[in-house]
Subunit: 214 residues, 2 copies
């Protein structure tokens, strides 16, 4: 996945036609488009292939199964045209290694903790161990929240410069693109502010320009 605009669109749009329209409009201004299961369950898995013609596609599937099932999910996701997949780390080292092996050239980003309130219950306490494990397993990068720049800085120092950090929560959720990039994110992920806008390309271009000034 290129790292030029440092902007990723979270395409949390479940209507297939609208999803394709938005990506067609913004693809020049983003490095990738991130899709999730609700779109797949509405549009079918072939939407990954259709989107991949216009943009790199990150499948935010939060893969969290036993190693063999993880392997099947990641292999098929890459076959369909994805460039990267987001997987959970809490399922342990064997599951994560299965994902990294199955991606064969594609990128694997690991969720180290979740930033919604429930994420505090069982994920936050393991974030550093999972980040360390992600590095050991050869994952391409981790996910860390733009809404908590201090935590982002901390995770950057934990994983070092060799791993990419994808940072969600910019825009409607309150995080700032420039703050997240300054705190160590390689990419910021922006959703509603772009895809719910009347002019998605204009919004994406403005965020891209904000990042470029850093």
């Amino acid at each position: 996945m290129r790292c030029e605009t440092r902007l990723v669109l979270a395409l949390d749009e479940t209507a297939p036609r609208r999803a394709l329209e938005v990506v067609n409009e913004v693809s020049d201004h983003v490095d990738a488009v991130k899709v999730n299961w609700p779109l797949i369950l509405n549009a079918g898995p072939e939407i990954i292939t259709r989107l991949s013609v216009m943009s790199d596609v990150i499948c935010d599937f939060k893969v969290a199964d036993i190693p063999n099932t993880d392997r099947l999910i990641v292999e098929r996701t890459m076959e369909l045209g994805a460039s990267a997949v987001i997987v959970h780390g809490f399922t342990g080292e064997d599951s994560l290694r299965a994902c990294v092996d199955a991606a064969s050239g594609g990128e694997v980003y690991v969720v180290t903790e979740m930033s919604h309130p429930g994420g505090e219950m069982f994920t936050s306490i393991h974030a550093e161990e999972i980040a360390f494990m992600a590095r050991q397993c050869g994952a391409h990068g981790i996910i860390a929240p733009a809404t908590r720049p201090e935590r982002l800085k901390d995770m950057r120092s934990k994983v070092g410069g060799g791993m990419k950090i994808l940072s969600p929560g910019v825009g409607a959720q309150g995080g700032s693109a420039s703050t997240a990039i300054s705190a160590g994110a390689d990419y910021v992920i922006v959703g509603r502010s772009i895809y719910q806008s009347a002019n998605p390309a204009d919004v994406a271009k403005a965020i891209r320009e904000e990042i470029a000034t850093l």
Copy 2:
């Protein structure tokens, strides 16, 4: 979901035609068929609807996202014809409540821990807390491994009689149907022993009869 044969088929078959054939053959001998993402990524989400004509369908999606995404996944899964969905508990109470609310009449089973080696790293230590949370949130049941009957007994005592326990690992993975049922499982989940057999219906019937003698 009925609880007559107490047998669930884990349909870890990714070829759509073969998946439909197997379910057509065994549907009289199982209470439900459990499917996972690899089949959806190969056959498309409409396979859920096609299977649901022949059998109750449990979507083993290990749902593990923020509450709003979980809600969208579970709602759509139920719309497609599933009777039940399997979700993770480690994403916390708000995510789990979103799943239970979105299932509206369908059943939610919660993964409390995972039995593969990596499951020991971050999931086993939280199994009891997650089982307790599942009960508090109104989930229909939990998942507990047939390969560890002592653990199954323990989880049954933790959740009481009001929740169902679905127990994977019977057959090729080494667990015994009768041992798991005796230890407190309501349903045993059997995969390869049935769907990779030359006569899936005969194998399913034999397991069903073994359970019926208890």
